[in-house]
């Protein structure tokens, strides 16, 4: 009798232990996600969306892209900004989340949206808006954003704000923006007898300069281009825009690059690769590869956004003095983009107001947060890269002056880029799918000496037509 009871007790104990272990394992396997509820929130935002946050409302908001510990100076600034923000809004708790490495990786971002696990305030690229809306992921903040909640709203480039709107409704607030230009290696320019203060302004000039730089030998390429991981298509688009062409026609239903401009772009690249031998032998490059080449003085020029320079200096150990920038050759249009924060659909009005107050404090106030250039300089972070560049009017004047006064790099190297702004043009619809198709054009041109350019473009155009037909 005693034995049977003992056996039952032992069995029950084993089951309890196993169940507990299983549950613990499941809990450990799981991922936390931000709920839609109003945890940490009291107050209902009863004063209406246009009114600023009620100082009595206790609010906690989660936000991603807080600098990771590895970026000590940026993290210090983040904490200082939170502290300063809490002096104004002691009722708001900011819970930052950081990701080591690249903050927004498209695969992870897509999965996050699908799982609805984005934080209350989440970081996106301008081009992500359709994807976010398809997943019903962002709150319409039109009613919340005005000159009381974002006092410098009138000075934000309307084109940049336009990138964050859909059907006239606003879904995000910008943190940074870029337009693509021609990034050059000043040392190689000087070695090749070229003037680094006057980067090439036409594609013919690029070709001539690339030939001279490649003539330095030692595996140095004059000009570099991507042709893999959809980045080839992205840059083909920039080339076409620079000459006034387009990727998708006005109706949005047909490809528009199989024309004289598209052929001109393709022929020029093919000639540089195979006739001049000025684009290096290694191809199928993607984002990150050209940066490494130019940072190690193996590449003379490539199309890039200004923040590539900060990446090369901070991550690859290059020196600012070694780089310069000019406007995109051709100069008709340039590819424009940027990044921003959106607010998760379904969170409480008070949380939305707190999020907008934080974004205004951190990213949209001249002289504060990310625009506190004196502090940035004191923290040994770069000042002088012509990005972000979304201010207009008085705000632009003030910000440019502060940036210049605190510059930690020879900003004169970017003067040609700054003094010759090229109108920005957004990416085409279904950009990634079209870039996948156009990657084949770029890889065809750059890896096949006998490439049939007419056929490559015609095939790509019919494939893009098909992609657009599936919209």
């Amino acid at each position: 009798m005693r034995t049977a009871r003992f056996r039952r007790a032992r069995r029950s104990g084993a089951v309890a232990v196993v169940s507990a272990l299983a549950l613990t394992a499941l809990a450990a396997c799981g991922t936390s996600s931000s709920d839609n509820g109003n945890s940490g929130t009291s107050g209902s935002g009863s004063s209406g969306p246009a009114a600023p946050l009620d100082p009595e409302a206790e609010v906690t908001i989660t936000i991603d892209c807080m600098p990771p510990a590895a970026k000590a100076a940026e993290l210090k600034e983040w904490k200082e900004d939170v502290e300063a923000f809490n002096e104004i809004y002691p009722n708001v708790t900011i819970e930052g989340r950081s990701t080591p490495g690249q903050c927004l990786e498209p695969p992870r971002f897509t999965a996050m949206l699908k799982a609805r696990s984005q934080p209350d305030v989440f970081y996106t690229y301008f081009t992500d808006l359709p994807q976010v809306l398809d997943n019903d992921g962002a709150e319409d903040i039109t009613a919340y954003v005005n000159d009381r909640t974002v006092p410098l709203l009138k000075d934000i480039d309307p084109g940049v704000l336009g990138s964050l709107k859909h059907d006239g409704r606003l879904y995000g607030l910008p943190t940074s923006n870029y337009t693509m230009g021609l990034l050059i290696n000043r040392k190689l320019f000087q070695q090749a007898g070229l003037d680094p203060d006057d980067p090439p302004r036409t594609w013919d000039e690029v070709r001539a300069a690339a030939k001279r730089i490649a003539g330095l030998g030692d595996g140095i390429a004059g000009f570099g281009e991507y042709s893999a991981a959809n980045t080839g298509g992205w840059h083909f688009t920039a080339h076409v825009y620079s000459l006034g062409g387009d990727i998708v026609g006005a109706g949005g239903e047909k490809a528009a690059f199989n024309d004289e401009i598209g052929k001109q772009v393709a022929r020029n690249l093919h000639a540089m690769r195979w006739e001049d031998g000025s684009m290096g032998k290694t191809q199928l490059l993607k984002w990150g590869d050209l940066q490494k080449q130019i940072a190690t003085d193996k590449l003379g020029m490539f199309l890039a956004a200004p923040d590539d320079i900060a990446y090369m200096v901070q991550q690859l150990g290059a020196a600012y003095e070694n780089f310069g920038m000019g406007p995109i050759p051709g100069g008709t249009y340039t590819l424009a983009g940027g990044n921003n924060y959106m607010i998760k659909k379904g969170i409480s009005p008070d949380k939305i107001k707190a999020a907008i107050a934080w974004l205004n404090h951190k990213n949209l106030t001249v002289g504060k947060g990310q625009f506190d250039w004196a502090r940035t300089k004191a923290d040994n972070l770069p000042v002088g890269v012509p990005q972000p560049n979304f201010w207009t009017g008085e705000s632009k004047k003030k910000d440019d002056a502060a940036r210049l006064a605190n510059a930690t790099m020879p900003v004169a190297n970017f003067r040609t880029f700054m003094d010759n702004p090229v109108p920005g043009k957004a990416e085409p619809p279904k950009a990634q799918e079209i870039y996948k198709v156009l990657d084949n054009v770029m890889s065809g041109i750059l890896t096949d000496e006998d490439a049939d350019i007419d056929r490559l473009l015609a095939t790509a155009a019919s494939q893009v037509d098909q992609v657009l037909a599936d919209r």
Partner: protein, 320 residues
């Protein structure tokens, strides 16, 4: 009348089957409860595994099946019938991806199946240093795939790569290994074979070492040479393992992703290394089209399941 009660009791089959205290048979519910109690520990131990499989394996499979027939727009999920399949089949890259995947599978089997088998036979013939050779063959498997791929990226680089250095030294024309649409897939297969052959070689070796030596002795007495011994003894004796490895390799190679993704960026020159799984990845993570990704995944699943079923059926017929 029986004289002895003992004799009577033992001779009564009804009493033997149903002792007095179990005269009433238990109901179904009781039987279930008793069975549950008896196997409580086993069920407890199963909970973790079943939950893990359910959450991380079965649920995603069911979800994928459903996604293949759904579309999400503006947060609204709707049923779309066969639209996702149509989208996938109409994609210009669809047939190219299947052609490339089949080419990879054929080449990978040609090299990836034969080379480990031959390596196993060679190692098996060595009487000394067999452990060292086994380690040597298995070493690439222990390297992280990314490290191996980067190694091959260096080997294949048209400018400073080792292979072109060798060609230059021999005064032979340089090759654009990964950048030539005709050479890119064989180059990827060579890298994949090197990276993965160790595991297969060890399995083959284990099978070879299970073949009784008398069979070879008998074959030798019959005058069989090396190739006849392999053909008439080795292959028939390892047929089961060979078939299993063939099936597993076909299933694995049809799902190739890492090697082309890292070596050529996925698509390769003019799409020459775009595989079906790479296309699935593009749909899901670059185009945000989970429906199309699920539909293509479903097509791959059906093909591989069909292949596996045909294989099992053929195997059974062969056994009969």
């Amino acid at each position: 009348m029986p004289v002895s009660g003992l004799t009577t009791r033992t001779a009564d089959p009804a009493r033997r089957q149903a002792p007095p205290h179990q005269a009433v048979p238990p109901s179904g519910g009781e039987r279930f409860a008793r069975g549950l109690r008896r196997n409580l520990t086993a069920h407890g131990f199963l909970i973790g595994a079943v939950l893990c499989f359910a959450v991380f394996s079965w649920y995603p499979m069911i979800r994928e099946f459903l996604l293949a027939f759904q579309k999400t727009e503006g947060g609204e999920v709707s049923w779309t019938g066969l639209d996702n399949l149509t989208t996938v089949v109409d994609d210009p890259a669809f047939w190219q991806a299947w052609r490339n995947t089949l080419l990879f599978t054929v080449l990978a089997l040609l090299f990836g199946f034969v080379v480990p088998f031959v390596a196993a036979i060679v190692i098996n013939e060595f009487h000394h240093a067999q452990g060292y050779l086994r380690l040597l063959v298995y070493l690439p498997v222990m390297l992280p795939p990314v490290a191996s791929v980067l190694l091959f990226k260096y080997l294949y680089d048209p400018g400073y790569g080792l292979l072109n250095e060798v060609l230059r030294f021999l005064h032979l024309p340089e090759q654009q290994w990964l950048q030539d649409a005709a050479l890119s897939m064989p180059s990827v297969v060579a890298a994949a074979t090197w990276m993965n052959m160790g595991g297969a070689a060890l399995v083959h070796l284990a099978a070879l070492q299970g073949i009784p030596g008398e069979l070879y002795e008998a074959a030798e007495l019959d005058g069989a040479g090396l190739f006849r011994k392999i053909w008439h003894v080795t292959i028939p004796q390892t047929r089961l393992i060979l078939s299993l490895m063939l099936l597993m390799q076909i299933i694995a190679t049809m799902q190739v992703f890492v090697e082309p993704f890292l070596l050529t960026g996925g698509a390769g020159p003019q799409g020459s290394t775009t595989t079906v799984v790479h296309l699935i990845y593009q749909y899901a993570f670059n185009f945000n089209n989970y429906g199309a990704a699920a539909a293509l995944g479903l097509l791959l699943l059906v093909l591989l399941a069909g292949f596996s079923a045909a294989y099992v059926r053929l195997g059974r017929a062969d056994d009969r």
